[in-house]
C-alpha cells in the first residue's frame, strides 16, 4: 500500500510527485514508457531533421514504438510522447498564461461553463510553477494581469521578432515578447539557451523538460518511479473508493496490483479518459468522461520577407499578440484567439521540404532558385483560439486496435463547430493582414483542411475530456479536480481544463497540477479515508 499512486510521469505527474514526495508521503508513479536517453535525442544526430519525421516524430501514430498506444483519429497528427517527462520530451516550451475571462465564459456567454475556480485562485500557482520550471519572459504586459518578475529575463530578440513587431506596430496591434519555459540565464543548475532553434524538447536542459529537471528532484525526495509500467485498470472497492491499479510490468510481462490510499491520474487528455473508460467506466456514470475534447481552433501562415531575418536562429518562438484575446461580438463569434509568432525551422532541409504550409522548393531546375529566395527569409505565425466544447468531440476506446500489451487504443473524434469556423475565417484574414503589414513578398495561409474540406488539425493540445465544474451532471471532477464519484481519485492533467483559453495550455495545466497536489498534501489525512467528495463553497 502506498499513500499516493500517480499514473503517468509526464509534466503533471512530475509536478504532483515532487510536491507530494517532498511532503514525506509515500508516492509511487507508474509510467508506461521509459527514460529518454539524452544521447539518443535527435538534436545530437547529423540526421536530426529526418529523425523528427520518423523515430522522433511527435505524432504517436507515425513512430512504431511499443511504449505508445495507437490513437485512431481524423486529425492530421496526434502529438504526444509517452515516456518519463511525457510530451515535454518533444514540446516547444511556449509558456503563456490564461486570462481572467477564460475562467468566466459561462457568465460571459453561456456556451461554455464557468470554471469552478477563478484566475485569482490559480495565480499563485502560476508563479510557483514558473519558479520550479524556470521561465524566461518580461513582466509588464498590459494585456495580462500583473505577474512577478520571470525567473530569467526575456530571450534575445531575433530579427524575426523585429520584423514582426514592426508589422504589429503598423497595424496598431498588441505584441509582447513570448514567455517560455526556456531559461535565458543559467538557472537551477541548468545552462542558458544557446539559440540553436532545434526546440522539440531540449536535451541541453535549457528548455524545461520535466524528465531532466523535475523528476530527479522528485526521486531524491523519495518518489518510487516505475518505468515500463502500463496501467491497465483502476480498481474500485465496495465503499466507492479507488483501491489501486492493475499494471503490467512490461519488462517481465507480469500483471501486478499496486494498492494506494489516493490515486492521481496524470496520463494526459487522451490517456486519462482512455484509462477510466477501460476501468469499467470508472467515474463516468454521467457519461462525461472523454467528452468535450478541446484542441483549440488553429490556423497558420508562413510568410517570406524581402531580406534575411535568419529565422533558423534562436529559440523557436518570438512574439505573442493578445490583440484579439477577448470576445468582441461584432466579429461574428464568441471567444478570442492569440497570434503565436514562431521563428522558422532551424533546418534548411525542412524549409525546402515544406514546413509550415504547402510551400516547398519545387523539384527540378527551379529548386535552388527557390531555396536561395526563401532561406533565411521565412517566418511562421499560428493563430490559436478558444474552441467551444461539443460532447461529440470525444475520446473513446478503439474497438479494433490495442497497444502492445493488449489494452484498447484510443479513438479521437474532433470537428470544429460553427463558432470555431467563424473564428478561423477571421483569424485567416488577420494573418493575411499581418503578412502584408510585415511587407511579406509572399505568404501562404494554412487552414488545415484536406482536399475534401475536412479540418484535420495537428492535434497537440488534449484538453477538457474530464473537465472540472460546479455541476456533477456536466463535469467529471470538482474544483479540486477530485472525481465527483470516486473521492480518492484526482486528475491533474489537461483533461480537467474546463475551457481551452487562447494560448498553449501547459502553464495552466502545470499550475492546476500544483494546486491539486498542494490540496492533497494539506488534506491527506481526511482524503485518505473520505467516502464523499469534498464540498465546495
Amino acid at each position: 500500500m502506498c499513500d499516493i499512486l500517480i499514473v503517468g510521469a509526464g509534466a503533471t505527474g512530475a509536478l504532483a510527485a515532487l510536491v507530494l514526495a517532498q511532503a514525506g508521503l509515500d508516492v509511487v508513479c507508474l509510467e508506461q514508457g521509459a527514460w529518454v536517453n539524452d544521447a539518443d535525442r535527435p538534436h545530437h544526430l547529423a540526421d536530426w531533421s529526418w529523425q523528427r519525421r520518423t523515430r522522433w516524430n511527435p505524432d504517436v501514430n507515425r513512430r512504431d514504438h511499443a511504449d505508445d498506444f495507437p490513437v485512431k483519429s481524423d486529425s492530421s497528427q496526434i502529438l504526444m510522447w509517452n515516456a518519463v517527462g511525457g510530451s515535454t520530451n518533444v514540446y516547444g516550451g511556449l509558456w503563456p498564461r490564461y486570462r481572467p475571462s477564460d475562467f468566466r465564459k459561462g457568465t460571459e456567454h453561456g456556451l461554455q461553463p464557468d470554471w469552478p475556480i477563478t484566475y485569482e485562485d490559480i495565480s499563485p500557482f502560476y508563479e510557483s510553477a514558473d519558479r520550479i520550471i524556470g521561465v524566461s519572459g518580461l513582466a509588464g504586459d498590459l494585456a495580462m494581469p500583473p505577474r512577478e518578475r520571470c525567473p530569467t529575463g526575456p530571450l534575445p530578440v531575433s530579427d524575426v521578432a523585429r520584423r514582426l513587431s514592426a508589422g504589429f506596430d503598423k497595424l496598431d496591434w498588441h505584441w509582447w515578447p513570448v514567455e517560455a519555459s526556456v531559461i535565458s540565464e543559467d538557472y537551477d543548475g541548468r545552462p542558458a539557451c544557446n539559440n540553436c532553434g532545434v526546440c522539440n524538447g531540449c536535451p541541453r536542459g535549457s528548455m524545461n523538460e520535466f524528465s531532466t529537471s523535475i523528476w530527479p528532484k522528485a526521486i531524491r525526495a523519495g518518489c518510487d518511479l516505475r518505468t515500463h509500467a502500463r496501467v491497465l485498470k483502476i480498481e474500485k472497492g465496495a465503499d466507492g473508493r479507488a483501491t489501486g491499479a492493475y499494471y503490467i510490468d512490461r519488462n517481465s510481462d507480469q500483471i501486478l496490483f499496486q494498492k494506494a490510499r489516493i490515486v492521481v491520474l496524470a496520463a494526459n487528455g487522451v490517456g486519462t479518459p482512455r484509462l477510466l473508460l477501460a476501468s469499467n467506466n470508472l467515474a463516468n456514470s454521467n457519461d462525461q468522461v472523454g467528452r468535450n475534447l478541446l484542441h483549440h481552433t488553429l490556423v497558420a501562415s508562413e510568410m517570406w520577407v524581402d531580406g534575411p531575418v535568419d529565422g533558423h536562429i534562436g529559440y523557436a518562438a518570438s512574439l505573442i499578440s493578445r490583440e484579439f484575446a477577448e470576445t468582441d461580438i461584432s466579429r461574428g463569434f464568441v471567444n478570442g484567439f492569440n497570434l503565436n509568432c514562431v521563428t522558422s525551422t532551424p533546418s534548411a532541409g525542412e524549409l525546402a521540404a515544406g514546413w509550415f504550409s504547402s510551400a516547398r522548393a519545387p523539384w527540378g531546375s527551379g529548386h535552388h532558385q527557390w531555396f536561395e529566395n526563401h532561406f533565411g527569409r521565412s517566418i511562421g505565425v499560428f493563430a490559436i483560439g478558444d474552441d467551444l466544447p461539443n460532447p461529440e468531440n470525444r475520446v473513446s476506446l478503439d474497438p479494433e486496435r490495442t497497444d502492445s500489451d493488449g489494452m484498447p487504443g484510443a479513438k479521437v473524434q474532433y470537428a470544429p463547430g460553427e463558432n470555431d469556423k467563424r473564428m478561423m475565417n477571421y483569424m485567416l484574414d488577420r494573418l493575411k493582414e499581418l503578412a502584408q503589414a510585415c511587407d511579406a513578398v509572399e505568404y501562404r495561409l494554412q487552414d488545415y483542411r484536406d482536399e475534401g474540406g475536412v479540418y484535420r488539425t495537428p492535434a497537440w493540445h488534449m484538453l477538457g475530456t474530464c473537465r472540472m465544474g460546479k455541476d456533477p451532471e456536466t463535469s467529471v471532477v470538482n474544483g479540486w479536480t477530485q472525481s465527483w464519484e470516486v473521492p480518492n481519485l484526482f486528475i491533474v492533467d489537461g483533461s480537467v481544463l474546463a475551457t481551452g483559453g487562447t494560448v498553449n495550455p501547459t502553464p495552466t495545466i502545470s499550475a492546476m497540477a500544483l494546486r491539486t497536489a498542494t490540496y492533497i498534501r494539506d488534506n491527506f489525512a481526511v482524503l485518505s479515508t473520505a467516502t464523499k467528495h469534498t464540498a465546495m463553497d
Partner: protein, 211 residues
C-alpha cells in the same frame, strides 16, 4: 510493494486476442505494396542504382553553386532510410510508375526525363512524396551543401544544438516594448453578452481558404 497477481481478474480484456491487432508500421513505405516489376525486373538489377541516381538528379540537379544529388551519394542515403537494406523493395514500387525506357528517364533529352518524373509524380504521389522529401532532407544535411548555404552569406550550422548561435542578449532599455497597447478584462468585469445577433444555430458558415 506491488502484489503479483496469480489470477487475472475476470473483467479484464483478453490480452492474447487483442494483441493481434497491434498498430502497423509507419507510412514510410516499408510495409506497402508488393507489385510485380516489369521494367525493372531482376534481370536488369544492375540498372537499379543507376535509375535512382538519375531520378534524384532530376529532383535536385546541380549548378555552379550546388552539387547535384547523386554527386554527394544521396541515392545511398535514400535507399537506406526508406527501404533499409532492401533496395529491391524500392524498385518494385517504382517499376509500374516510373518510365525508365530510353524515351523516359534514360533519355538523353532533358524534356523526356522531366516528363517521366512528372508522370511518376502524378501516378504515385505518395511514393513520389516519400522519395522527394527524403532526398531534400538528406541533401541539406550534407557538409558540401551546408558549405554552399554558408557561401550565400547567412550563418548556418547543420548541427546547431552543440554550439548554438550567438545572439545579443535582450537589452531592457532598447528591447522593452513601449507601444502601451493591451488590456484585459478582470474577473469581476466579465458580464453577460447579448448573442442574439450571432445566429450561431441558424447560420452555417462556409469557411477556410476556399470560402
Amino acid at each position: 510493494m506491488a502484489t503479483n497477481l496469480t489470477k487475472f481478474p475476470s473483467s479484464f480484456f483478453q490480452k492474447e486476442e487483442l494483441n493481434q491487432n497491434r498498430i502497423q508500421p509507419d507510412d514510410l513505405g516499408r510495409t506497402e505494396l508488393s507489385i510485380t516489376t516489369t521494367i525493372l525486373s531482376s534481370s536488369n538489377r544492375t540498372e537499379q542504382p543507376h535509375i535512382l541516381k538519375l531520378l534524384i538528379d532530376e529532383l535536385i540537379p546541380g549548378d555552379t553553386l550546388w552539387p547535384k544529388a547523386s554527386e554527394i551519394g544521396l541515392d545511398n542515403v535514400i535507399l537506406l532510410r526508406l527501404f533499409g537494406q532492401e533496395s529491391s523493395a524500392l524498385f518494385e514500387q517504382l517499376a509500374p510508375v516510373l518510365d525508365c525506357s530510353s524515351d523516359g528517364l534514360l533519355s538523353t533529352a532533358s524534356a523526356n526525363r522531366t516528363s517521366a518524373v512528372r508522370r511518376f509524380e502524378e501516378l504515385s504521389p505518395a511514393l513520389f512524396e516519400k522519395i522527394y522529401t527524403a532526398a531534400v532532407l538528406a541533401y541539406y544535411e550534407m557538409p558540401v551543401v551546408v558549405e554552399a548555404i554558408r557561401a550565400s552569406g547567412r550563418p548556418y550550422s547543420a548541427s546547431p544544438h552543440a554550439d548554438g548561435y550567438v545572439m545579443p542578449a535582450f537589452d531592457h532599455e532598447h528591447d522593452t516594448p513601449r507601444h502601451g497597447r493591451g488590456s484585459y478584462m478582470r474577473t469581476g468585469d466579465v458580464t453577460p453578452l447579448d448573442l442574439s445577433s450571432l445566429d450561431l444555430d441558424a447560420v452555417s458558415t462556409h469557411w477556410g481558404l476556399q470560402r
